[in-house]
């Protein structure tokens, strides 16, 4: 239980900060099924539990659109190995009860795999284990033997190492952290930060809880400045992060910032204080790098099927959450032909589950660090990609190569 909670906490802490993609949720909030397969093969039934409405609906809905765009792209091109993707999306609205009902319904309907875009995955964690249904993890998924990660696992222990390594590469030694009071998930990560950073020779000199709807954040800025903070970690919604940076900038306090890439939005690029020297880690390859072929393919599909998701972010770059979901689709694309070459026969859950363990160093066309799942483990991934803001633009770090924890 502790493990689940810890894992969940860290995941939700990230989600509390996810950039919002305006129209994505609207597109995904209504459960949809793709048209019946036109290919000769048996359709591959995929379910998705999505927090597509409510407070985090915009962010999760945008992520869901990433998988939906992949499914439409695949179906339009004749399916995977002759199979159409039959996708059913169920909205849980962030309500554990609704999530549980949605998951049960998807399980009962015979979906082979479930895509987890739910904020409250813990509510149906036991259901999928009991039914032995494989799950492709979103950022707030719960670790268990049936859930498979396609990007860095939040809360797996590597999160704070990525924070530390990025801070060190940015040349800072003193960190500060502001975390939101509204989201209960913010607190737990904070308690671990100090001890984790010490292991890497860094000190956390300032930590404080704050309200996302405060009139201003000048007090926190001055307190952090007085404490000698060189890099500030801010856990809140993008608009609040921008406001914090602006208020600090007003006080002449311009520390470096470390904000998870999953939180990045184009509006931040021009925010006073953030435009230069904002760093972050991403669980999958960086959403803004059009030179990467798979990212380019994803962006093309998003423009075609969900242009609002892209335009809503006021740029042609969907968020990192979309990449994670697209990567989940790419995983199916790689796996299904391997599992069964006979498209007329339906693929069972057990076949799919076993098939996951046949993947060896699979990078999902460069969207992930190499994946090799090991039976009996929790199918987690621990490597990350890094990026930063430079001159008001996104910049790829480390040549686009992933970084792994010391022990990995």
């Amino acid at each position: 239980m502790t493990n689940i909670r810890g894992k969940f906490c860290a995941a939700v802490a990230i989600l509390a900060m996810v950039p919002t993609l305006v129209m994505g949720a609207a597109a995904a909030s209504t459960p949809r099924s793709s048209p019946r397969a036109t290919a000769a093969g048996a359709p591959f039934k995929v379910g998705m539990v999505c927090t597509c409405s409510g407070t985090f609906g915009a962010a999760f809905g945008g992520g869901a659109a990433g998988f939906q765009a992949w499914a439409k792209t695949i179906d339009a091109s004749g399916g995977v190995g002759g199979r159409q993707i039959e996708l059913t999306v169920k909205d849980d609205a962030g309500n554990p009860g609704q999530a549980s009902t949605a998951a049960k319904s998807l399980i009962d309907d015979g979906n082979v795999v479930i895509i987890d875009m739910s904020l409250v995955s813990g509510a149906w964690n036991q259901l999928i284990q009991d039914a032995k249904v494989p799950v492709i993890a979103g950022p707030t998924a719960v670790q268990n033997p049936y859930t498979f990660w396609v990007g860095q696992t939040t809360g797996a222990g590597s999160g704070n190492e990525s924070l530390a390594k990025i801070a060190k590469s940015a040349g800072v030694k003193k960190l500060g952290q502001l975390y939101c009071a509204e989201s209960p998930s913010c607190t737990e990560g904070a308690s671990q930060l100090k001890s984790d950073m010490q292991k890497f020779g860094l000190s956390v000199v300032y930590q404080a809880e704050f309200a996302s709807n405060a009139a201003n954040y000048t007090s926190q800025c001055i307190a952090a400045q007085n404490a000698g903070v060189q890099m500030l970690l801010v856990g809140s919604q993008p608009s609040t992060i921008s406001k914090v940076a602006a208020d600090c900038s007003t006080q002449g306090f311009k520390p470096k910032y470390q904000i998870g890439v999953i939180q990045w939005s184009p509006a931040m690029l021009s925010a006073p204080g953030l435009e230069d020297g904002t760093y972050g880690a991403a669980g999958n390859y960086l959403f803004f790098d059009k030179k990467q072929p798979e990212i380019a393919r994803m962006q093309k599909a998003m423009k075609k099927y969900y242009p609002d998701v892209i335009s809503a972010d006021n740029a042609d770059t969907p968020s990192e959450l979309v990449v994670t979901m697209w990567a989940g689709g790419v995983l199916l694309e790689k796996l299904l032909p391997q599992i069964s070459s006979d498209a007329s026969k339906p693929i069972t859950r057990q076949q799919f589950y076993d098939g996951m363990y046949t993947l060896k160093n699979e990078t999902l066309n460069g969207l992930s660090s190499p994946i090799t799942y090991v039976k009996g483990s929790n199918n987690t991934l621990s490597c990350w990609f890094t990026a930063h803001f430079k001159g008001g633009k996104y910049a790829v770090d480390n040549g686009g190569k992933y970084t792994c924890p010391t022990a990995a």
Binding site: F8, A215, Y217, S219, Q220, S239
Partner: protein, 921 residues
């Protein structure tokens, strides 16, 4: 000090906006008597308009601001004034519901406008910097501070020196007085609303930059103004502004210290409510009650169908609900939630509908139950049933905690206190490990792993039937409670707490009981909700949802327990049958509008008479006999058997040398008088002489500065009104204090039952058969002697003033009161009625042996019935003696009677000054 100076400067700049918002809030409250809970919602609405003009339409900000503040805000102010006018004389509950309904309306508009990801707009005032006390301040902040401080000073001057301001101050206290001074009260009030709304709009524009433009964010932000208003005692404008500054500084300092003292991190957003809560606890009740005027709203008596029909309807409802797992298996969770909502509504209805209290923290009670159950089962390993029962009881002390402000204040202040409690709980406690912990998922709350035969309680279907069983039990339990003595007392308290207390019931105990029961049932609902979804999570217990609950409980006017069923259908089921949030938004808008218009609903609401007659006929209820007219009654003999002998130890009432100061004015000055048993003692004098004040001292509503009150030889000066009533002191009021939703018989019975209930929790909860028989006998006798038998089954709130006075007399005659104090009882009676009234009084004194202290202006009545008279003038006794001696007194002649006294039918009542407007102060 240097360390803190920058934070003080920052706090001042933020606090100035809170102060400005607080000014507008207090302004409208001072002038309309309506505390606008939706003040932040109005600010948000202004921000919507500004955003539309400034961002969407690309208008220059000065023009956009001018249109918002100069055109839109006054228009909203005029609309608010219309709402305020409709609420004149309405209950405090309806005033609160109307303004919280406004919040729901604005949230719904915001969600329709930007369903997700609400936008924000940048700062439009100069962001150039100035260095002050080691902190950079923008010109925007300086402008806001100077503007807010200037406006505060200008308003202070306006209320003291400008005629319109002075008239505004007088408006709440006496609309008629304003009219008499040549001003149109509506015009004055309209201006007050316009100014207040303009302030809200300005605050909205100043606070909004950088924040999401939605209904919730700005409403929450402007809640800080509530704390500022509390510091200003909801009255003092400069102090309100200072309160805003204080909250700003305190927030900045807490933010500073949050880096080293981690547990205070969640406090800043709740800080205004901490101030508010403290102010409500420590401020003298007298000051808080100043704008809490009596309601003149006609109270509708809820219709209850015949028992046979109610049982039949109940059986049908249970049958239909029992079929849900068969016919709606896909929506079992939805209907399970609906059952829990029924329990939640019933628990809230006990407070809001049955006792007239307000709770905006009801889901907080439920949250306590949810997390308590979870921790008891998962952490402590308790069996589910034990955990469920104890989890329900855990909320009882919290209910008692909330009853503290409820005991001291009511209406708007209770609503504020409960809202504050809910927000403090959310920000400060929800995230702690002993509550929901640090995950969005919350804490696990397992269903019972019990199987009874084929009934598996942990399955969806089994748990649904368990919920149905518990819901039926709760309905039966609460119906039993509300049908019994507690229910009658609560309904009476809802109508007039003053009347109930002066008849012997300790309302503190009563409020404690009802808050504790309500909290326990809500807590049960919270535990069940958590079990239903396997987790107790903050998702189910958001403070803003408590507002929706209160609005629904108020706007649904059908009887118990059907309002709860309808409320659950509206809140849970309808939305659950539609995907997406459009229907939910429409429902929210509908609830909000209904809340705003609730006052109309309660006036015209209720079941149509034709339908009532139909149901009565179908249910086998005999139609009520038409009432007997006053003229018929007056011919009837007045002699009735003595019901209860006067106590052997009763000697009557003595007051010794009492003095009462109102401000610097001595309302009563060293008055002593005796009102022995078996005698009618008159207390007369011109208006403003201090008669009612003396009465209020005797009954305990006012504590005298000096002097003592003795009842049957016992000093009762420091005792409460209810304690004195139980000692045998009964009274009526200048403006009859009756239980308007009850019938005449129920009112008269309450005259006896209220003192039986007394201060004992057990006596307030249940009554014995013998006790009920005694009450019925006493009521019969009192109805007979006052000739009110003919109107026994009519609702008192609908009776004319003459009959209301007779009913009030009957209530004190039915009670165990040896000494009756009657305040102008013949006012509003015609000649025949007055003559008969005098006969009743004489009978009561001579045959029943009771003592009567009578305040009366009708000199014919006074001379006819009084054995002994006291005359008051300017708070001092100027005469004591028989009626005949009084007529010979030159001093009385010149001060009160004048030359026509001996021939006048009715007393002189010269309006030399005005008695305290609010009885009981």
């Amino acid at each position: 000090m240097d360390e803190y100076l920058p934070f003080i400067v920052i706090g001042l700049t933020t606090g100035a906006v809170y102060g400005l918002a607080g000014l507008g809030l207090v302004l409208t409250y001072k002038t309309s008597g309506i505390f606008n809970f939706g003040f932040g919602a109005v600010a948000a609405l202004a921000a919507f308009v500004f955003y539309y003009l400034y961002v969407d339409e690309g208008m220059a900000w000065p023009l956009a601001a001018l249109i918002t503040v100069g055109v839109f805000a006054p228009a909203v102010g005029i609309a608010m004034e219309l709402m305020g006018r409709a609420l004149t004389g309405a209950s405090e509950k309806l005033k609160v519901v109307a303004t919280v309904g406004l919040i729901l309306v604005v949230i719904a508009i915001g969600q329709f406008w930007h369903e997700i990801n609400p936008p924000s707009f940048p700062h439009f005032l100069s962001q150039d910097l100035v260095r002050v006390a080691d902190v950079n301040i923008t010109y925007e902040q300086i402008i806001i501070f100077v503007f807010s401080a200037s406006v505060s000073a200008a308003l202070w001057w306006f209320f003291r020196s400008v005629r319109l301001g002075i008239v505004m101050r007088g408006l709440v206290d006496s609309r008629d007085l304003v009219a008499m001074s040549g001003d149109d009260p509506s015009r004055v009030r309209r201006w007050a609303w316009i100014i207040g709304t303009v302030f809200a709009a300005i605050a909205g524009l100043l606070l909004a930059p950088g924040h999401p433009i939605d209904g919730v964010s700005l409403t929450l932000l402007v809640f800080a103004a509530f704390g500022a208003a509390a510091i200003g005692s909801f009255d003092n404008l400069p102090l309100t502004f200072a309160g805003g500054l204080l909250i700003g500084i305190a927030t900045a300092l807490v933010d500073k210290e949050a880096g080293t003292i981690t547990w205070i991190g969640g406090i800043p957003p709740a800080l205004p409510f901490v101030f508010l809560f403290v102010v409500l606890i420590i401020t003298p009740r007298r000051r808080l009650a100043r704008r809490n005027l009596p309601s003149f709203e006609r109270v509708l008596r809820p219709y209850h169908a015949p028992l046979r029909l109610r049982l039949l309807a109940g059986a049908i409802a249970i049958t239909l609900l029992a079929l849900v797992p068969v016919v709606q298996v896909d929506r079992l969770a939805l209907w399970s939630t609906a059952l829990i909502s029924i329990i939640l509504f019933l628990s809230l209805g006990l407070l809001v509908r049955n006792s007239g209290q307000i709770s905006l923290c009801h889901l907080t009670f439920a949250a306590v139950g949810g997390v308590a159950f979870s921790h008891f089962t998962t952490d402590s390993g308790w069996p589910w049933l034990v955990a469920l029962v104890v989890a329900s009881l855990v909320a009882v002390p919290i209910g008692a905690l909330i009853a503290i402000p409820a005991v001291r204040v009511s209406g708007v202040f209770l609503a504020l206190a409960t809202l504050g409690f809910a927000i403090i709980m959310q920000y400060v406690f929800y995230g702690r490990d002993y509550m929901f912990g640090s995950t969005a998922l919350g804490v696990a709350a397992p269903r019972p792993a019990v199987s009874l035969g084929g009934w598996d309680l942990s399955s969806d279907q089994g748990f649904y039937y368990l919920l149905l069983l518990i819901t039926v039990l709760v309905v039966l339990g609460l119906t039993a409670i509300t049908s019994g003595r507690l229910g009658r007392l609560l309904q009476a308290m809802g109508d007039s707490q003053l009347a109930l207390e002066t008849k012997g019931t300790n309302s503190i105990v009563l409020k404690l009981i009802v808050f504790c029961i309500s909290a326990a049932v809500a807590s049960l609902a919270g535990a069940l909700m958590s079990m239903l979804f396997h987790y107790a999570t903050v998702f189910y217990f958001q403070p803003f949802d408590s507002i929706t609950l209160v609005v629904l409980v108020t706007i649904i006017t059908i009887g118990d327990p059907w309002y709860a069923v309808l409320g659950a259908l509206g809140r849970v089921v309808i939305g659950g049958y539609f995907q997406g949030s459009t229907v939910s938004n429409f429902l929210l808008l509908f609830f909000g509008i209904s809340g705003v218009a609730a006052v109309y609903g309660t006036r015209i609401g209720g079941m149509p008479k034709s339908l009532q007659r139909f149901l009565d006929r179908v249910g086998g209820r005999r139609p009520a006999q038409p009432g007997v007219g006053a003229s018929e009654r007056s011919d009837r003999p007045v002699s009735v058997p003595l019901v209860r002998p006067v106590s052997a130890t009763a000697t009557g009432l003595e007051i010794r040398n009492i003095s009462v100061l109102f401000g610097g004015i001595k309302a009563v000055n060293g008055v002593s008088l005796d009102a022995p048993m078996g005698r009618i003692t008159g207390l007369i004098g011109p208006n403003g002489a201090g008669k009612t004040t003396t009465f209020n001292v005797c009954s305990g509503l006012i504590k005298p500065g000096v002097g003592s009150v003795l009842l049957d030889g016992v000093d009762v000066t420091r005792e409460s009104p209810s304690r004195r009533a139980r000692r045998g002191l009964g009274r009526t009021f200048q403006r009859p204090e009756l239980f308007d939703s009850l019938t005449t018989r129920q009112n008269v019975s309450m005259g006896c039952e209220a003192s039986m209930a007394g201060a004992s929790p057990s006596a307030q909860l249940v009554s014995s058969r013998a006790g009920r028989r005694d009450i019925a006998d006493a009521a019969d006798a009192a109805l007979a002697i006052t000739g009110t038998n003919g109107i026994a089954d009519l609702q008192v709130g609908l009776l004319p003033i003459g009959q209301r006075r007779l009913v009030e007399l009957a209530t004190v005659l039915a009670g165990p009161f040896d000494l009756l104090m009657l305040d102008e009882p013949s006012s509003g009676l015609d000649g025949n009625e007055t003559q008969r009234f005098g006969e009743v009084l004489t009978t009561v004194a001579t045959q029943w042996g009771r003592g009567i202290l009578l305040v009366e202006h009708d000199m014919t009545l006074v001379r006819g019935v009084c054995d002994h008279l006291y005359v008051l003038d300017f708070g001092s006794l100027i005469f004591e003696g028989s009626p005949e001696e009084m007529l010979l007194s030159d001093e009385v002649q010149s001060a009160y009677l004048g030359s026509t006294a001996t021939t006048s039918e009715h007393g002189p009542g010269s309006p030399r000054s005005i008695e305290p407007a609010v009885q009981g102060e």
